[in-house]
């Protein structure tokens, strides 16, 4: 085992920025550890029992019991029955009570003589338009795009384990070009597995999946420590390979947010596309913030003392190991 005798100032600058971010992760640890992948969703299913008459039932009950659907004005909602008359269920759909506890709620409509329709309402997109033929209505498609882009952004920003993994990748890359390739590889990897899992081609139980995701972060922590000791392993030389491989794993985690909604096959490709776009937007925003912080630390020459350079790696590993144990 070799010990590091000369640590570059860039490493110490990065370490200072990453340590600050990790200290915040440490504060969040007790609250976010167990719930990082649990989607706060609710699903109400409306089955048409007669023309314009529906029977409603919570197929995924809300976490917040005060959550209530809001239907178009011409509809009368007397749980469990919804009466919309001849016009049927068209117009504005929303939920009262969406917020930090219940971020997403879905209305699934099962008409008697048409394909099922799913409308996802989120705090970011509090109103969606219900139409009889969503396949040809541009406004409905735009609603769908906005909803799922926001859902993707929400999912990555609330998924602290994904962000921690990305933080580790930033640490492992030695140049800007290498970082671009690594992040791209991670994106390609999670996009492939996200699509595969959403279409039902692959399926992994949620609990071991989340444990494996935590383990992937432990791996990154170990790789950082090895790099600091001067042992340039596979990850240090080809970080994009590791990013791609673990991206496949993280993509399965992203898919849990979509598959839980029970989106019908007709709208699944577009929902998947925009969800992935949202994930990328959130991920790129996070990478930009971290890079800007590293730049600012460099300007202020705010570095960690030599003895503290290894702190971020151990912090990443420790946090992830805690998650792994709590998820197993």
């Amino acid at each position: 085992m070799t010990t590091s005798t000369s640590t570059s100032s860039l490493d110490r600058i990065r370490a200072a920025a990453l340590t600050c971010l990790l200290l915040l992760c440490g504060v969040l640890l007790p609250t976010w550890s167990a719930s990082s992948h649990e989607a706060s969703m609710a699903v109400i299913t409306l089955r048409e029992i007669a023309p314009g008459r529906y029977l409603g039932q919570w197929t995924m009950p809300p976490v917040d019991p005060t959550l209530q659907p809001i239907f178009p004005p011409h509809c009368r909602w007397e749980p469990p029955e919804l009466v919309c008359g001849e016009r049927g269920l068209i117009g504005r759909l929303s939920f009262m009570g969406l917020g930090s506890k219940q971020s997403v709620a879905t209305i699934k409509v099962l008409p008697r003589d048409a394909a099922p329709q799913v409308y996802t309402v989120s705090a970011a997109k509090p109103i969606v338009m219900a139409a009889r033929t969503p396949g040809t209505d541009l406004a409905v498609w735009l609603d769908l795009a906005e909803t799922y882009v926001n859902l993707g952004i929400d999912h990555i920003l609330r998924g602290i384990d994904h962000l921690l993994f990305v933080l580790g990748l930033i640490w492992l890359t030695s140049s800007g070009w290498m970082l671009v390739r690594t992040i791209t590889a991670f994106t390609v990897g999670h996009s492939i597995s996200l699509a595969a899992a959403t279409f039902g081609w692959v399926g992994v139980p949620e609990r071991p999946l989340n444990a494996a995701i935590a383990l992937s972060i432990v791996f990154v922590g170990v790789e950082i420590v090895k790099l600091q000791r001067g042992e340039a392993g596979l990850t240090a030389r080809y970080p994009w390979i590791v990013a791609f491989a673990f991206g496949l794993l993280h993509g399965l985690g992203f898919a849990t947010a979509l598959t839980a909604l029970g989106i019908p096959q007709a709208t699944l490709p577009i929902a998947l596309l925009f969800f992935n776009v949202g994930v990328e937007i959130g991920q790129l925003a996070f990478v930009m913030v971290v890079l800007t912080l590293i730049w600012a630390h460099r300007q202020a020459r705010a570095v960690l003392p030599r003895w503290g350079v290894a702190l971020p790696a151990y912090a990443i590993g420790s946090v992830a190991a805690f998650w792994f144990l709590s998820r197993v």
Binding site: L98, L157, Q299, R301, A302
Partner: protein, 207 residues
Amino acid sequence: MRTKARLLAGATVAAVLALPTAAHAHLVDTRLGDFYGGALHPLTELQQILPWIALAALAAFQGARRARWVIAAFPLALLAGGLAALAVPAPPYESLVGIGLVAATGLALAAAARVPLPVLVGLAAVMGLLHGFQNGQGLPASTDRLLFLAGATAIGYVVMTLATGAALAFLRGVGGWRPIALRASGSWVAAVGIMVLGLQFFAPTAS
């Protein structure tokens, strides 16, 4: 004409800052939960974000070797202040102290004052404690306080680091106008602080 416009803008900012409910009476509801709610909370408070940027610029005037201590001290004080708010009641004249800090930081920046390191760190600590306290006050029981305060601390670290780094980079650039521009911005902050302080004592009553 330009002076009039400046006075008008300054008075507007001062009026906004002087709103009695501005300091800690509202919660920012984001769809992303209490961490992001806490992170967004100080950003909606001109009374907080303005002195943060002034403090970062003042720290930059002291050079990188001193400025970096502010990056460490400020968020830690912010967190300590937030935690203190969960346990102890608000200190007297809390609001006045806050406005006084705006004026003092602005004046020091406008004068490009050479501040000893303990004073600079002390200023960052007092501002962090006070603003942390204001962020931690009045949180409803439904809010996850730890997450909320972690969010406020995170944004304190991010803003202070970015503003200090940007101010240092700005001052390192070519051109003698750069320090003057930063000092001018300090004078604006000081003017706003002094105006708000005046409004606290001589504000016209509604009746």
